[in-house]
Symmetry: C2
Subunit: 340 residues, 2 copies
DNA sequence: GCTGGCACTCGGCCGGTCGGAGTGCCAGGA
DNA sequence: TCCTGGCACTCCGACCGGCCGAGTGCCAGC
């Protein structure tokens, strides 16, 4: 009914005003700035009801109202309209990302771009190895018993590992091994590689078997946690902007959590490429992120994300704008990686 | 004479006290905490002289004294004794750095270690390409006219670039090219490679000449500025600790300068592996670093540094401790890279 | 050349006051 | 039934003035 409808409009107005001014917003100011068609007194009644339901709160008696996490959640789910990026912003994205020379460069530019666009801290995940396919597997002899294995994926990621050979190897064997492994793995998804390894070892010529097994084992090791995923972080300077206002305690635990990477990676593990994930304040599992919100989305051409990217900022953030920016950048990065 | 000598001891005491307490230090407290053998009144006279000479200053009339940049400089140059690391710290270094799987991992661990050891922001530079030698050069066909060039250096750094071929190439030509290029470049320092390119192109079989030229050009392009040097930064959370105390304005410009990388890289361009470079406050060319000090040293086995590493913190820092930590870590990283 | 004493100077803290913004409630009107 | 204007009340934050303490510079004496 019209009743509830107006209440939601009041909530939206409160969120918008609070996000832009960072001051608790009062009934009078609200009536003045937004054409709600009712008097401050009526708004006060609505505000009391909204507070009752837990969407807004007062920092102290006789101050204006501030949205709660629950209020932001409602705002994000039902009230915010998608804010299309301006043409200038779209052009900035293209201009910024084109001309990157390699993956590292692409992601570095992406994180800077995102930080600049949203004025928040930006995080970008490297394409996960497990969902990437092998483009090439190279072996470089370091000594007679040590090989350097270099894995190049179709997303442009490069991983290197030293493999201790079970016995001495000569150049010819290395060449043979290289051919064998590339025939087996090139084009295959890494996550599927584990299945093909046993057969590969079995069918290998006897003198290479131990070696094939050793290299394959190392290859699979790249998939375990800490190396598997990498993160690029940028725009931490944005945390300093009004930090005292936005983050009650300090920014320190937040910075620590970001450097920890694991926390953010876990958050991003869930995102798909189609829908933007928003995690608000207390919704975040990790304590250090309790006062922050996280907006992220997966990037990648197909239906499954190659990796995620997003921004971290105060709960008091421009959700609509950040969601739009994150989505647009992810889409562009997806294209960029698909065509290279 | 004994006169000047005592004055310097007073300066040292002031620096030490101020670093540990962060309070302007007065004559009385100095006399109490340090066995200088004279009364506060005498110390006051010395302090007046030190202030006259510009080594210390008063934040306001009738407050204690605080060292100036010039005072810290004198302290670093003449007064601080090298503080050997504790056994526990040495063991921590080894334990932390051993078990790294690749270069990225080594540098990531290094930066975390350094940040933890010094409780400052740590920066570590990737080994510069120009001073590295080629370990292997790999070519992977992407299409009939595009090749992916992968450069692996003896320091474990990997760079990749896409090369547009002047004409169509088949697998055989790629193999030929690979052999040719590796014969020419493997083991050579990259900085010397530019000299060998013309001869290489000339002596190449005619059907490969254009291709050799294209790949070589791309190889040399990796040496230009922004890609040539990379930086890993860690421990920015340490900036938040007492930021208001240490950095008058905000930490923001400092964080921005760090993310900019160029500023830090320029500072580090000068360091050699033998002596620790200390740059204090106003001595830093870049404005954002004006309130900070930078302690750095080169790492690398030989006489020329492969790269630099260091810490950035408030001018009010434990110079002796940080210099020792930076040096010890650099030495260990140097060994680690040399033996791999 | 060192020392103790002394007057002086500020910055920071504390308590009290005041104004403004905002609220809740109530009675009257559409 | 719902909206509105009015009114009394609350509480934060800014402002002010006085006090205290730490620290200084200077001076006369040893």
């Amino acid at each position: 009914m019209a009743h509830d409808d107006r209440r939601l409009r009041v909530l939206r107005a409160i969120v918008e005003d609070y996000v832009s001014t960072n001051d608790p917003v009062g009934s009078k100011a609200l009536a003045a700035r937004h054409d709600l068609g009712v008097s401050p007194a009526t708004i006060r009644n609505d505000m009391a009801a909204l507070e009752e339901e837990g969407y807004i709160t007062q920092p102290h008696t006789s101050a204006g109202r501030v949205p709660t996490d629950k209020g932001y959640r409602l705002f994000v789910d039902r009230l915010s309209s998608v804010k299309p990026l301006s043409g200038a912003e779209r052009r900035a994205i293209e201009k910024f990302l084109d001309g990157a020379v390699d993956l590292h460069d692409v992601l570095g530019r992406t994180v800077r771009l995102l930080a600049q666009l949203t004025r928040q801290v930006a995080v970008v995940q490297y394409p996960t190895l497990s969902r990437s396919a092998v483009r090439h597997l190279e072996l470089v002899p370091l000594s007679t018993t040590r090989l350097l294995m270099v894995l190049i994926t179709d997303t442009g990621r490069v991983e290197q590992r030293v493999v201790e050979s079970p016995g001495e190897v000569d150049a010819e064997q290395v060449a043979e091994l290289r051919t064998l492994l590339n025939a087996a793995f090139t084009g295959a998804k890494l996550v599927e590689a584990s299945g093909t390894v046993p057969g590969l070892v079995e069918n290998a010529p006897p003198h290479l078997r131990a070696l094939v097994s050793a290299v394959s084992a190392t290859l699979l090791e790249t998939l375990v946690e800490p190396t598997e995923d990498r993160l690029v972080i940028g725009g931490t300077a944005n945390l300093a902007r009004g930090s005292a206002l936005d983050f009650p305690g300090t920014v320190r635990p937040l910075l620590e959590a970001l450097e920890e990477q694991v926390v953010v990676l876990r958050l991003m593990a869930e995102v798909g490429p189609s829908t933007v994930l928003v995690s608000i304040g207390e919704e975040n599992a990790h304590e250090a992120l309790t006062g922050a919100s996280f907006v992220s989305v997966g990037y990648g051409a197909g239906d499954q994300a190659l990796g995620g990217l997003g921004v971290v900022g105060p709960t008091r953030m421009d959700y609509a704008g950040n969601m739009a920016a994150v989505r647009a950048v992810a889409r562009y990065v997806g294209h960029l990686l698909a065509e290279s």
